[in-house]
């Protein structure tokens, strides 16, 4: 495998988002959604969390759902940002990476590429490109949160910077297997839309079937570990998270990518 070619493909993926009309429109929509989140959720909720009137009620509520640790953060903006992003970015990753190879395969563009790079390089380059895009968007929203927080309380800037860095890494890790899953679904379906439909079915119908079968067949619930995001509920509270919680998305990503590589090698282009 040539890392040079993988990097060329990764770079080209970035231009897909940042240098095409469709990509820029998607970015504009993303920016608008986050503007709304910052303006109406984060900015409005912070006084509620840190204000003396509601602080105790908020603590009780958060305690009930395991978020006591988050409530204790002085960087309250990041606490709300974390809860929102934890569920938004995995979902967003599914959509943004829904066309890693399938569009090019249907159009025949993959045939031009496969005369110049191996299928492994194409798959890995595209995956890394999508991961880099998601990581850039995560870092952008973290920086925006940092700015809003520093505007409220400038003394929190340095601690917020470290917390932002930590959350960026954690959110990127959480998003990784979602992109890898889409890499696989792109190979077995005939359009990006169908890939999204399959992903939705996997997370809804698939998990329901496993949950049902788990009543009758022991250990079948271990199958839940192939589902990206399986550990999200465990890490949401940012308390008592284990190393396994962060290793799992990496293992899942490697697993889904390995299956994708095998499937793509066998597939006719």
């Amino acid at each position: 495998m040539s890392l040079f070619r993988v990097w060329q493909i990764t770079q080209f993926e970035l231009t897909r988002l940042f240098a095409t009309k469709r990509g820029l429109l998607a970015l504009a929509a993303f920016a608008m959604v986050w503007f709304m989140i910052f303006k109406y959720l984060i900015a409005e909720a912070v006084p509620f969390l840190s204000g003396p009137m509601f602080k105790d009620i908020a603590r009780q509520l958060a305690g009930g759902i395991g978020f006591q640790e988050l409530i204790s953060w002085p960087e309250a903006e990041f606490a709300i940002y974390w809860v929102i992003s934890l569920y938004c970015f995995p979902l967003f990753s599914l959509f943004v990476s829904s066309d890693q190879t399938v569009g090019d395969r249907q159009r025949g563009t993959l045939r031009f590429l496969s005369l110049r790079s191996t299928r492994d390089e194409i798959l890995l380059g595209r995956y890394l490109g999508q991961l880099l895009i998601v990581a850039i968007l995560i870092v952008s929203t973290v920086l925006a949160t940092l700015l809003i927080m520093s505007y409220r309380d400038p003394s929190l800037f340095s601690s917020g910077l470290l917390l932002g860095l930590k959350l960026s890494i954690q959110l990127t890790l959480i998003s990784m297997p979602f992109i890898a899953l889409m890499a696989f679904l792109n190979i077995v379906t005939s359009s990006s839309r169908l890939s999204i439909v399959m992903a939705i079915l996997l997370f809804t119908l698939g998990s329901a079937v496993i949950a049902y079968l788990a009543h009758y067949i022991p250990f079948i619930d271990t199958l839940f570990y192939v589902f990206p995001g399986e550990q999200i509920a465990d890490v949401a509270g940012q308390k008592n998270t284990s190393f396994i919680d962060w290793l799992l998305p990496v293992v899942q990503s490697v697993g889904w990518l390995f299956i994708s590589l095998v499937a793509l090698r066998k597939r006719a282009l």
Binding site: R5, Q8, R22, R111, F112, L113, L115, R116, T118, L269
Partner: protein, 300 residues
């Protein structure tokens, strides 16, 4: 001459349908080769296997001494796959530069190479155009341009002129003809007259089985002329048989006759034209040899 492609006992099936049955052939360096056959004969399957898009069920493919899919073939083997399109969202320069970079060219060299191949196909003024802004003929030419990046040794063109107007088709034929001394072309087309003009080696596929035609200009004891007339005179066949040194005449289609004659008669073509004039026959075309179409489909 050394062979650039050697295929041995290649087979491929789709379900119960055998697309290729024990196909074996060799293509020599510099020999422009035509791949001919009816629809569904297995041409595109063979192309796809040679390009690495499909895996064969069995058999060996050796390209420039390498196995199929070997990264050493990048830049040496290129292709115009049937119906494949570039990404419509990017400019020609952006995409062809990207392909050049993948082939290992530096950034400045890839820009230079992109401009060179676009100029070859007559699209240097469209370097910043997006694929979606181009006509069908221009898109095809861009796809041919990508196949010429970094001067590959083998170029496979599947239906390169299909769906093009005569002017565009002619331009593409000229490109192939001009570059045929620099690379080995393998062409697939339904236009036999086009292949006849460009190719010296014919591979004929039918129902997954291959037969080879080394040349279509017979040399030896007998030569051939193909006479096309404007009208069809009464008993033309009989009249032609009466000509001196004629050994066989076949009517291949309305107003077209393939005349086999003794090779020792060097003036036969002159005599034939004089004979037509004498009989008041007007001819449309006199072809030295047999047409590829007649060779393949009118064997007697």
């Amino acid at each position: 001459m050394s062979s650039v492609i050697k295929v041995t006992n290649l087979s491929k099936s789709f379900g119960s349908k055998a697309a290729l049955k024990n196909v074996s052939f060799e293509i020599e360096q510099g020999k422009t080769t035509a791949l001919i056959g009816p629809n569904g004969a297995g041409k595109t399957t063979l192309f796809s296997i040679l390009c690495g898009y499909l895996e064969p069920d069995s058999g060996q493919v050796d390209i420039l001494g390498q196995q199929l899919g070997d990264p050493k073939l990048f830049s040496k083997l290129s292709a115009l796959p049937q119906d494949a399109q570039l990404d419509p969202r990017f400019s020609l320069e952006k995409q062809l530069c990207f392909y050049s970079r993948l082939q290992g060219l530096s950034k400045p060299a890839s820009i230079k190479e992109t401009h060179r191949v676009l100029e070859l196909v007559g699209l240097k003024d469209n370097v910043n155009s997006r694929v979606s802004e181009l006509s069908h003929g221009m898109r095809k030419r861009v796809c041919i341009a990508q196949a010429l990046i970094d001067k590959p040794e083998i170029i496979l063109l599947d239906e390169a002129t299909a769906g093009l107007d005569p002017v565009n088709a002619r331009e593409i034929r000229n490109i192939i003809s001009d570059l045929s001394d620099q690379a080995t072309f393998i062409l697939s087309s339904h236009d036999l007259s086009e292949l006849e003009r460009l190719c010296s080696h014919i591979l004929y596929l039918e129902q997954g089985e291959l037969s080879e035609h080394k040349t279509h200009n017979y040399q030896g004891e007998h030569n051939y002329l193909t006479l096309q007339l404007i009208n069809e005179p009464h008993q033309a066949l009989d009249y032609l048989k009466q000509l001196q040194d004629v050994t066989h005449v076949q009517q291949t289609q309305s107003k077209e006759f393939v005349i086999e004659y003794k090779a020792e008669n060097k003036q036969f073509d002159v005599h034939l034209l004089k004979y037509c004039h004498k009989l008041n026959w007007q001819y449309r075309q006199l072809i030295n040899g047999n047409t590829l179409e007649n060779e393949l489909f009118n064997k007697e």
